[in-house]
């Protein structure tokens, strides 16, 4: 049975001391906000790199080449990037790219159509600048796609002729095949992140909040080890209170500090950096679940550590490792078992959960992240019970 009055007395006194010594403000709020600001400055614009600018393409088509004639139309029909097509003289193409009068030059060789129609191999030259960007790569891909397509059609025509079809029949076969292999027009959708992705600013806020949660929460339960060192723990244990009340109070302090600092960081992040995380209800559920999971881990550290210094070092290492694995600094792009393991860390689940809420997801959509937190809590509780206490040693 818990001694609620004693727990409240210890919790409120601990909170008063933590607030009084200012360290919780420094490590729970000031440092993460400063880091978010710095990272935001360093990585500004990374999120916009995927949006493409307009591009000018110079195209050289041999006179009377009906096969190549379709290429400018295909390029002109692309919306993203916005492609402007203009004619270019083949001999001037490279110079035009170098002097930036055009961005890309496409030179179709003489006899291109005839070669293709007879089933031969024709090379189209695409001239791009040395600092080739995404837009130039897209143009190259479109040209290659066009060449592949007309080559495929000529192969069909050649096969039909070889099979004894007359010219009219061959044209019909080609038209039929063209219809059947009609590639979809190149379209793009601009700007919407997927349901589990955060923008750069929101990602930085979420990542740093997840990372510093470990340090803030440490101020609560690690003080249990400090009390053991400072001699106040024996006095507390001699008080007429239930033995478990002390650790429950410390855990409660961690929980309160964790929830408070996370809330403040997410709110400050939203206000200062324009990050958006969605509705309050699902976010609150995610925050509470994450704080509980992290608190259980830090609690485990206090049971193993002999000194508060050991506990703080271990907590810092665990926080940094799990934070980096979970993508608190950069998104984890690896694959394999380590990447799958990284997905199971509280920071990763927290960031993923915020991605879900920012995409409009509710509590029921948070199943994955909440399951990770519950699993973490369960493992920590089992380990906590299994590891012998250092009391009395």
């Amino acid at each position: 049975m818990m001694d609620l009055s004693a727990i409240w007395t210890m919790t409120s006194s601990d909170l008063r001391q933590r607030l009084r010594d200012k360290s919780v403000f420094i490590f729970g709020l000031a440092v993460p906000l400063a880091l978010i600001t710095v990272f935001n400055f360093l990585f500004a614009g990374i999120g916009d790199a995927e949006s493409m600018g307009p591009i000018t393409v110079g195209v050289a088509i041999p006179d009377g080449d009906q096969v190549a004639d379709g290429l400018p139309g295909v390029l002109d029909g692309v919306d993203n990037p916005d492609i402007s097509v203009q004619d270019v003289v083949p001999t001037d193409a490279e110079a035009a790219v170098e002097d930036d009068s055009i961005d890309v030059a496409v030179v179709v060789p003489d006899g291109f159509g005839a070669t293709v129609l007879t089933g031969g191999q024709a090379d189209v030259e695409v001239i791009v600048p040395a600092d080739e960007g995404l837009e130039e790569q897209v143009v190259t891909a479109i040209v290659l796609g066009y060449v592949d397509r007309v080559t495929a059609l000529s192969t069909v025509a050649s096969a039909a002729s070889s099979a004894g079809f007359d010219e009219a029949a061959v044209q019909q076969v080609v038209a039929t095949v063209r219809q059947g292999t009609q590639s979809p027009g190149l379209t793009s959708v601009v700007g919407e992140t997927s349901d589990e992705q955060l923008g750069v600013e929101a990602y930085l806020v979420a990542g740093q909040t997840a990372l510093f949660m470990f340090f803030t929460i440490g101020f609560g339960v690690i003080s249990y080890v400090e009390e053991r060192e400072n001699g106040t723990l024996p006095r507390l244990q001699s008080m007429p209170i239930r033995p478990g009340s002390i650790i429950v109070a410390k855990t409660l302090v961690s929980f309160v500090l964790g929830v408070a600092s996370t809330t403040v960081l997410l709110t400050a992040g939203s206000m200062l950096f324009g990050a958006s995380f969605g509705r309050v209800g699902p976010i609150a559920v995610l925050v509470v679940a994450t704080v509980v999971a992290v608190t259980s881990l830090v609690l485990l550290v206090t049971k193993v550590a002999r000194t508060s210094e050991q506990a703080q070092i271990a907590n810092t290492i665990i926080g940094l490792v799990l934070g980096m694995l979970g993508g608190a600094f950069f998104p984890v792009t690896g694959s394999g078992w380590l990447a799958r393991l990284a997905d199971l860390t509280p920071p990763a689940a927290f960031i993923r959960g915020l991605g879900i809420t920012s995409g409009g997801g509710g509590v029921t959509d948070l199943g994955g992240p909440l399951l990770v937190m519950a699993g973490f809590l369960l493992v920590a509780i089992v380990a906590f019970v299994a590891i012998p206490s250092r009391e009395g040693q």
């Binding site: 009055s5 007395t9 210890m10 001699g231 024996p234 006095r235 244990q237 001699s238 007429p240 009395g392």
Partner: protein, 312 residues
């Protein structure tokens, strides 16, 4: 009268080390009981079991009729513990420290406020009551450490080496405060490795070494164990032969040795007999220039019991 504390065969092991081995003693209300022994003798482990911090491997400690244990809240309500370490919070003031521990002792709010003022007065911290204790001197912290133990007026106050590292002035203040406690009827368990403190404060003393209680009793009872008596040396000139003869006839005098310029006596209860000895020797014609009295002390007792000095 039932004892406030009764320890029966307390035993505690840490792996292969027997820290406390079959320790038994009792303390009555208003009595100050000292556990005297060197560092590592088992004093702190004993009081940890008495205070309910450690479960004994064998035996039990009973406080006001209730057996003590880490989970026995009822027994702990009778205890005030003053640990050897400074068990106070540096970021809280003296008043906040007292209020915090008073609430954990379940003291009613109004009674607590009044009692805090009294305790602050007792330990001489009224003027600095609202300063954070990290700004206190070592002696002030020690006094507050004791004040917290006194706050709820426990039936048993346990003081674990409360004067370690304290300046002489603060030490004297602490000893005076402890002396006053027995007058108020509180039972006090006082551990120390300072012989003088045990002699000054304690009604009865248990001498502990290697986890075992070697002997216990009042100071005089313990001194009898050594079989030693007081020694008195009279320095001077004149008729030392006549003086030796007359002094030897006094009932308190056990033996007399005569040197050219002194008489060396062994005496029972020297303080009581000293006036008779001096006047008798003077009357016999000895011109006394100096008197020295040497009494056996608890150091002698410890040496006698363990074969080594208390400070070893």
């Amino acid at each position: 009268m039932d004892a406030v504390l009764s320890c029966e065969g307390l035993e505690r092991r840490f792996d292969d080390l027997i820290a406390v081995d079959d320790v038994s003693f009792a303390i009555q209300a208003g009595e100050t009981y000292g556990l005297l022994g060197p560092n590592g003798a088992g004093k702190t482990t004993t009081i940890s079991m008495v205070a309910g911090l450690l479960e004994p491997d064998a035996g039990r400690a009973v406080i006001m009729g209730t057996t003590v244990g880490p989970a026995v809240v009822e027994a702990k309500a009778h205890i005030g513990l003053v640990p050897q370490d400074l068990a106070i919070y540096p970021d809280l003031s003296a008043r906040e420290n007292l209020r915090f521990f008073g609430r954990l002792q379940r003291m009613p709010k109004e009674a607590l406020s009044a009692r805090i003022d009294t305790v602050l007065e007792t330990v001489g911290l009224t003027d600095r009551a609202d300063d954070q204790t990290k700004e206190y001197s070592g002696g002030m912290k020690r006094r507050l450490n004791i004040g917290i133990g006194l706050l709820h007026q426990p039936d048993l106050l346990i003081l674990d080496e409360p004067t370690v590292g304290v300046d002489p002035q603060s030490r004297n203040a602490i000893l005076e405060a402890v002396e006053a406690l027995s007058v108020e009827g509180m039972a006090v368990l006082y551990t120390t490795h300072y012989m003088e403190e045990a002699e000054r404060l304690c009604d009865r003393i248990g001498i502990i070494d290697n986890g075992r209680l070697q002997a216990e009793g009042t100071r005089d009872e313990l001194l009898l164990i050594t079989g030693e008596v007081d020694k008195v040396s009279l320095q001077g000139s004149g008729d030392l032969r006549a003086a030796a003869s007359d002094v030897a006839a006094l009932p308190a005098v056990v033996s007399v040795g005569r040197e050219p310029r002194s008489l060396d006596l062994t005496v029972r209860d020297a303080p009581s007999a000293l006036a008779d000895i001096v006047s008798t020797a003077s009357a016999a014609g000895m011109a006394i220039t100096d008197v020295e009295v040497a009494r056996p002390d608890l150091e002698s007792v410890f040496l006698h019991l363990t074969g080594r000095a208390l400070r070893d």
